[in-house]
Assembly symmetry: C2
Homo-oligomer: 340 residues x 2
Amino acid sequence: MSRVTISDVAMAAGVSKTAVSFAFNNPEKLGHATVERVLQVADGLGYAPHPAARALSLRRSGTIGVLIPQRLSTVFANAFLSELLQGLGELCEKHDLSLLLVPPLDGSLEGAIRAASVDGFVSLGLSSNDRALETLDRLGIPSVLVDADGSVNHPTVNVDDAAGAEAAARHLLKLGHQDIAVIGLPPTRSEVGLTPTAARRLAGYQAALDEAGAPAPQLVTAGISQAAGVRAFEAIAQGKRRPTAVLAMSDMTAIGVMTAAIQAGVNVPIDLSVVGFDDLPIAAWTNPALTTVRQPIVEKGRIAARLLIQRLQGRPVQSPSPLATKLIVRASTAAPRTRR
Amino acid sequence: MSRVTISDVAMAAGVSKTAVSFAFNNPEKLGHATVERVLQVADGLGYAPHPAARALSLRRSGTIGVLIPQRLSTVFANAFLSELLQGLGELCEKHDLSLLLVPPLDGSLEGAIRAASVDGFVSLGLSSNDRALETLDRLGIPSVLVDADGSVNHPTVNVDDAAGAEAAARHLLKLGHQDIAVIGLPPTRSEVGLTPTAARRLAGYQAALDEAGAPAPQLVTAGISQAAGVRAFEAIAQGKRRPTAVLAMSDMTAIGVMTAAIQAGVNVPIDLSVVGFDDLPIAAWTNPALTTVRQPIVEKGRIAARLLIQRLQGRPVQSPSPLATKLIVRASTAAPRTRR
DNA sequence: GATCGCCCCTAAACCGCTTTACTAAAGCGG
DNA sequence: CCGCTTTAGTAAAGCGGTTTAGGGGCGATC
């Protein structure tokens, strides 16, 4: 009782395999009556072409992979990926493509890449020296990079992280903050360095602080989860000089910091200002509502998908210029309580 | 400059294709030296077995599909799927499986099912009369159902929706509410009726109301997005008799209702109590924090993945009993302002 | 009446891998 | 030195589709 194959249909309809294939894919090559009959028989038998066989023969799978440098349980705890998938999904559905989530396999992204039956990849947060990129190139799989370094080989979709970060830092400086802590994103995997986005945001913060002659910020690294933010707050709170403001590179981390701060009796924003990054939907709903840097994540997904689809169709593509970011001031930031 | 195949490696290493295959998959069948040499050559050439060819030959793809009855852009606007994917992802990564997102193709789930190269499906929200289920059966693809009707053919993972809903309604009744509106989930696709979860929750609400002898609730149907919640509030507000409380079947919808209510100058919870369903992380962060029914979504994903993996390994599985739900009382519910 | 062209349809090659069945050579006990 | 078991490797047959090249029939053309 194994699967119905094309041969079964051919036999039952009294035609060749070719005819069956044509009936589905090139009906104009066959007489009208034959097409009808074949389709009828196929339907009766419950025939569906085997996707892997089809992919092998056609040299395309109708699937695009989303290369995710972290474990799914980690990355789905942050709505960033959900937003991106909304954008990707929109375009993919329009072009009858499926999305394959490709996280590291046994810790190795390269292994996961090799094993994935996809026509192309949308890769997240890869730095240009990542070996995964090399693997993609060697296998010749078309790829579009999101949140990456500039790459010569691949179209890349980025936002203006530096400008956004700079605006965030300026906002705090203008409010009068001097003691600022920065909560950075960790490297996504042990073997690679700072994430491209993290590097750019850090540079943005730094540029604003330098320009204002502010002291170097305390730098803590934390994951992208709320729990990581809680730990980051604890790390900061232990320091000898308590900052009056925190710049976080992710909304979820910022929320974790707020949670922990409020829990510890610290008033946000009076005693501690907090700024996030991303402007996820939840940012508008926290209490106090989160001041953060908005980046158009859904749009990023749409653009990435569009570029990849264009590449798959053989059309030339070029990277768009970085998308604009925008500081959204809400209630989690205020002037520090006292300036001495 | 096409892809390096197993033949290329065989030729370069001076052995047969069989030997190359063995070197990767059954090294013990070959001399140690040969294995070494083949692997060396393969690595030098940048060889990776073609996934589709492998899938065709092995009759397994190493991928499990997540059957999603709605468009990705819709469904990812609600954190439910993210949570579920955390659970699914956890188990899948452990077993070296990838996840393929399978939304309807041109509106047809069945078409999407046929086209997906997967070893099994985790299907969301399918009612037992859904034609998609029939398709799954005919193709003989192992499946596990989540949030479905009880099914004889497939293991099913459910939560105790009715009890959760009943608890939510009781909570409102105990506070003194009599005029209650229910915001139901819409059918996921036009051709099917009420979602199984929606039906069970509705039954739960109804049971509590009947028991208390409360009047029949006003019933509005709205999507699972915040925007849908906003529209639902507007629909309710237009009615002649304004309810003092709202039971929503989804947190996002509930949040939309709160947004719209507050926007319209209605005080939540004083003038309007709102109860959600799911207890997504965001529910704790809204202002006021949302009273809602907690269901263990991540755990649901874990269990579904575990069951499916067991089925794929040929081990017998049986549906677990429905997982417990729990009413989480926060700040969005209170006694109605005045009882006449 | 032979030739051509057109319409339908098919045989067979191919996509790239796995695996069964088999062979040649080596090892070994008697 | 012979027959028997291992060892090390191979040829070929799948897996289930698509596609190229071509064959048979038949009406139109010359």
